[in-house]
Amino acid sequence: MTKNIHKKFKVMERKFIKISICLTMFSLMFIGMAKAQQNEITGIVRDTSGKPVQGAIILVTEHSDTQAVSDKDGKFVIDGQIGQHVEARTENKASGKMKIVKPDINITLKNGTSVIPIGFGQTRKVDEMTSSVGFVSGQKLTNKGVINPENALYGLIPGLTVLQNGGEPPTNVNMFIRGRETFNDNSILVLVDGFERPLSSLSPGEIESITVLKDAAALAQYGQHGANGVLLITTKRGKSDELQVNFSYDQSITSPTRLPEFLNSGTYASAMNEALQNDGLAPRYSQAEIDAYNSGADPYLFPNVNWFNQVLRDYGNRSNFNITFNGGVSNAHYFVLMNYVNDQGLFSPVNQNDGYSTQLKYGRFNFRSNLDVNLTDNLLFQVDVAGNVINQNKPKGGNGPSQIFNALYSIPSAAFPVKTPDGNWGGSQIYGNNPVAITSSTGYSSPNSRELFLDGKLNQDLNKFLPGLSAEAAISYNNYASYWESKTKQYSYEVINPVLDNGGNIIDTTTTTYGEDTELNYWSSFGNQRRSSDLLGKLNYSRNFGDNELQSMVLFHQNSMIFNGQNNTYHRRNFAGNIHYGIKQKYYLDVTASYSGNNLLPKGNRYGIFPAVSGAWILSKESFLANANFLDRLKLRASWGMTGNDRLPTNNPDIQAYHGGNGYWFTNQNNYQGGFVEGRLATSNLTYESSYKTNFGIDAYLFNKLALNIDLFYAKRTNILTNTDGLISNVLGVQDPLSTDGIVENKGIDVDLLWQDHVGSLQYHIGGQFSYAKNKILDMNEAYRPYPYLKRTGNSIGQSFGLQAVGFFKDQNDIANSSRQLFSEVRPGDIKYKDQNGDGVINEYDEVPLGYSTGYPEISFSANLGFDYKGIGVSALFQGTAHYNAYLNTQSVYWPLRANNTISSYYYNRRWTAANAQSATFPRLTTESNDNNFRPNSIWLADRSFVKLRMLEVSYALPVSFIQQWKMNSVKLYARGMNLFSIDNIDVLDPEFVSSGYPTLRSYNLGLHIAF
């Protein structure tokens, strides 16, 4: 293992060397170009998308009394000299700054990146940050063509790994910040405007920005709830006094990224015979029958059904309407959004019913109204109301789509016809349900949900008591509930059986009807609910004293979250404070601490103190680097601190519960009486997980073109709740207590690179991100393992274990001369395993670590590139993962024919037969459960690394001069493709979704965006 790590760091080392060589070359080119010379400087201010910005205030840093304002084409003229700096700023805080190297310059405004939210309503200039955070502006989410903002986050922020989970709307994802640090709950904290709420409840268009808090300096203020990382979502607010209307419409068609192919009926029948023969059983199909399947002459008795074609249409479709209003008067501003999404799924036979469709439909209406009112000059009042209404339609009951896909992935093409000659559903007693019938004739269900977010906030400026002092108070209330209505029915189906004469020839057929057609049967149920409320009070104090600047705050926050069911109510309370101190705009120091607790921990152990310190040094402002003209900014950061994770893997482990256990039978009637047993012993000193995080970072901006951020981190998580089964003798007689002995370390690197430049009117950017997080279990109270290689301790969380395959058994002789494999009877073509411990038998003790985890990748990376030329834009986002495995156990595709399942052509072409024993990559065909082959081993553990083209967009912005006649500010037309291709080793299924469920989708979007 350590060898591997070395290797990885070597690879990284090489990358760094390459990067530094490039940097040196560039610097040589640019040094010396700067010459001091008073001049009239002309330039253009543009925003990050390359559009000229009107009304930006321009000044030269060195003599800030001179100011200019950009005109409607973004142009400005100002006096300055080469070597000085030009700054540009707009009202909405976007800003840009660059060194003058030649008389005409282009300034790109970093929209909002200069000041970013860091939690609890605090914002900070990026230049002054001492902690490690990732940031993305909302703009980057809206061009991803998705309806759930979670799906827009792939590859956007280094350190945030986002994994897709199938394609059924709303396609929620798994998110990890810097991998995994605990073998218990790794879920990250998602805050919308400061309060815990799901990101998927929002629409992409209402998001102003997303910040990812990664190191202890950024997370310590969240105390017990922050250790897994925090995603801060800030929603848009009204800014301008003039009404601005944005309207967009996006129409897309969706199709599965990949679907497996299964054998046609003739080949299936011979594969089945081959499998039976391999198992030493009689064949099921005669040659005449196989011929009949191949000829297709009798589609009823010898059908050949491509079930996917019968059940799925080529494309689903999706519409997305979005309109926002942004405006106000001098003392009141608003942002209002309405978003409507309508997604129609992939099922084809859905409209064969009276008055209803069984299509998979997802309709969502989102609304938001964020209102800012200055009640007095010193008192700001904010009221935000947001929410959504979701109405869905699904075939069959709630799990209809998964049942349909389960059938699609199991019913052979030869099983039965879709319909019998009488027009009734075909079916069988052996193979399971007719997927077409489930799709169209089992009714439908409609899950509906409503969600409401309500925030109120007051901000009182207290300058008159103490300059720089202000106070805030906020309340928040959130409510979510879902409700299911179903109208389901059953259908009848017919089984066709041949009638044979004495010679075995088919002379007639008989049909038998099973099941019955019923009326729609109504039922409804309460689905789920979630309620939460928050209370926040905060004092801010910010002041400058000469060269020194101070920003500080103390706050009180309490939160209650209530989910369905028992032991699902969480009360949390947090006292936190932060002091941010800067000297000469070069040296910054942050001290943060939180005192936080929750109701899940036992009294006396509820609260913990979570401190962090961090510092930053802006080297580029030092005189010794003043001549390094290529260096616009260079900052070093370091942080150390502690955060906590209060998510317990089980309820109340600190209390020994007595619960129902096995009973016994007494009396002459043998009456059963229930029993009570002593539960797991109580955990003493139950506490939160503590994460000690260290982070080193470099932020640089070079040549006014290249932004570079590198973060190195090391974290050690202690007090992880783990069982002690491995440590205490079973003579104790009761389940051992959980202990807080678990320790995991996690280290890695986040790299973010962005090169932005222009060649004439061609604006272009190219960026890349790389994240690596490697964890290691240092202690998990692991149970006794008879061989050291079986130990989980020392490996990563979720490390895959399995048997090492060394090939396939050639023949009986080979089996006789090999170690005995104890899982099931072994035949030629079965997997032969390595005897790791040399004890002459292959059993569970021969399982070794194989590959990586199947749960999350250690490496994720992305590349984004794009250009804009006179309104024509192209942009692309590639995203990938590595050090990631998949367990190939999908029925029929990888584990075929068992339990009357079908078989994929992929497997069939790679199966072992005596003839192709050398080239086979999968074991022989079998109809049996065959525990020897179908178990965790190196054959099924596949490399899941992939590179996907997540997004490709071609857009055209109509010339401003042209559209102004209709009083429009911008009109943009675009065509987009999402998930267009994937390069990987899985081939038949999406590497992110190796499963038989509703598939992941590719989409092609056409859209229009208009701003008034």
Binding site: I475, R573, Y658, I728, S729, Y784, F823
Partner: protein
């Protein structure tokens, strides 16, 4: 200024949250006090301890313990029970690990004794049934102690020496406990039985609720008698002390003398019958058909065998007319009709070829409906009948389930224990001061089986040989043979496993050929189980049994 009202509101809200905000607790589990302050829950806690009593239905990875002896051969090759036979078990690959189950039963007893002591359940005092309740409650500690003694018996017959724990351990004590020797634990069991037997009812007919199935005085006496028998046996009595045999004989005699039990009229009724007057203690179970599923002959709907009796066992059944072993001269055994004139218990224990099962003739000849080469057909030419309930229906549309009861102690065993101890202590014909000879005791068993008496004039050795055979036959598939082989230390003589090759002739008759099915491994170390390696690693005071 009016907006100060907002501040007031917020201050009030914060105040309303209060200091108890984090004291929110929704847990509703019972605590120790909830259990032992309430009669019904206290009773349920004891009820659960009964469920730790092991049964012998497919108790070893889907197979019977019999398949680890010369009684039977398991069809399923990959069942762990085969590891007993191929010798691949070890301290790492442990089998039949009752270690944890027994110690959790023992802990539960210790906890029950500690926590339930002296409770008066005041809140029920004015209920009408209070006195009846307390009458039951009075017996509970003795039932619990019986169960603990039984659990220790299960432990020592496996592991020999084990930690003897009679108090509730704290987690940090478990890893330093010292083991006690077989003799120490055995005398603990015997002393406990002596202490508790007079507090336990002879039966529950006169105890409120009439909860038969609970531990009785007879059960305690039978446990004591069997423990003493094991302690007197060669494995644990290497010096051959006669006193140990005498103690064992006296303990069995006390049960015989009590006249509380009698032999059932029909041998077929001795198992799966919790109402039998022969049953001293059974391990009761609810309705189920899983044992039938795994033992009906292959070819019967839903069948997936299973435990197959061996030729070794079938050969142990004597000839009914002569009372002689089939190998004895003049026994009357006819190899062409091997099942004629045999001990009637054979037909009640084993499904033999061409016999009736569920209204059909069982075809165990090569190619027959219930025979090889069918997958999972018998390897020995026999299927199990004892304990298998014929009336269970496995047809998927009319599946039925039946109650099963596993015999832990029955009167028949007591008689055989007595006969064995008497023969060892005094020889076959000496009643000593106990009133009955070894031969008289075993003849009671013979009479019930409609078999001729043991002849008079046998030497002690001859009697021992014949008695051991009788024990194999009478107690077949009741979890005795496995332990008898060990305590008698006759392992190596039980390793050749035979079956019957059956061919159907053209004239409808059958030809039978005895065949070797398996040669098994048996080493001296296997007389005791290995203590799980993981336990020894956790507690350095435990020492491994010799040879492991």
């Amino acid at each position: 200024m009016k907006y100060y009202r907002f501040y007031l509101l917020f201050i009030l809200l914060i105040g309303a949250g209060g200091c108890n905000f984090l004291n929110y607790d929704e847990s509703s589990d019972y605590t120790k006090n909830d259990i032992f302050s309430n009669f019904d829950r206290t009773k349920s806690f004891l009820t659960n301890i009964y469920s730790h009593l092991p049964d012998g239905f497919n108790s070893i990875d889907g197979a019977m313990r019999a398949s680890a002896t010369d009684e039977a051969e398991e069809v399923w090759d990959l069942s762990n029970v085969q590891k007993f036979n191929d010798g691949s078990w070890s301290a790492i690959q442990t089998l039949d690990t009752q270690w944890s189950n027994m110690y959790s039963g023992i802990r539960a007893v210790n906890l029950f004794l500690k926590e339930s002591k002296g409770n008066t359940f005041e809140e029920r005092k004015y209920n009408d049934d209070y006195d009846q309740m307390m009458e039951q409650y009075k017996i509970y500690p003795y039932e619990a102690r019986f169960l603990r003694a039984y659990f220790y018996f299960e432990l020592i017959r496996r592991y020999g020496h084990v930690p003897l724990i009679t108090s509730v351990l704290e987690a940090d004590q478990a890893n330093s406990i010292q083991p006690a020797s077989f003799d120490e634990v055995a005398s603990f069991i015997v002393n406990e039985c002596d202490d508790i037997m007079n507090h336990l009812p002879v039966n529950y007919a006169n105890v409120p609720n009439k909860e038969t199935g609970r531990a009785t005085r007879g059960a305690a006496m039978a446990l004591k008698a069997r423990t003493l028998l094991y302690a007197a046996s060669k494995l644990h009595n290497p010096d051959g002390s006669l006193d140990k045999w005498k103690e064992a004989a006296a303990a069995s005699e006390a049960i015989i003398d009590s006249s509380w039990y009698s032999l059932a009229n029909n041998y077929s009724n001795v198992v799966n019958n919790y109402k039998s007057n022969e049953l001293i203690l059974g391990r009761r179970l609810g309705t189920s058909n899983s044992f039938e599923k795994s033992n009906f002959p292959i070819g019967y709907e839903g069948a997936n065998p299973g435990t197959c009796p061996t030729q070794n066992l079938v050969d142990a059944y004597e000839m009914q007319s002569t009372g002689e072993s089939i190998t004895a001269q003049g026994s009357g055994y006819d190899p062409v009709h091997p099942y004629t004139d045999r001990d009637p218990r054979l037909a009640k224990t084993v499904i033999i070829n061409n016999s009736q099962w569920k209204g059909q003739n069982v075809e165990i000849w090569d190619g027959g409906r219930n025979a090889p080469p069918l997958d999972r057909a018998t390897k020995t030419g026999y299927y199990l009948k004892k304990y298998v309930i014929e009336s269970v229906n496995l047809d998927p549309t009319h599946t039925t389930q039946k109650e099963h009861t596993w015999v832990l102690f029955r009167y028949g065993e007591v008689l055989l224990n007595y006969a064995e101890a008497m023969n060892e202590a005094y020889g076959p014909e000496d009643p000593a001061n106990l009133g009955m000879t070894a031969r008289e005791a075993v003849n009671m068993i013979r009479n019930r089986a409609n078999m001729p008496d043991f002849p008079t004039g046998l030497t002690q050795d001859q009697f021992r040989k014949k008695l051991r055979n009788e024990r194999m036959v009478e107690l077949a598939f009741e979890n005795h043979r496995f332990w008898d082989i060990r305590r008698w230390m006759i392992g190596p003589s039980t390793t050749d496993i035979y079956g019957m090759d059956i061919k159907k002739n053209n004239d409808g008759s059958f030809s039978y050929h005895k065949k070797l099915v398996e040669k098994r491994a048996f080493e001296d170390k296997m007389y005791l189980y290995p203590i799980p390696e993981s336990e020894i690693l956790k507690n350095g005071n435990l020492n491994q049994n010799p040879g492991w």
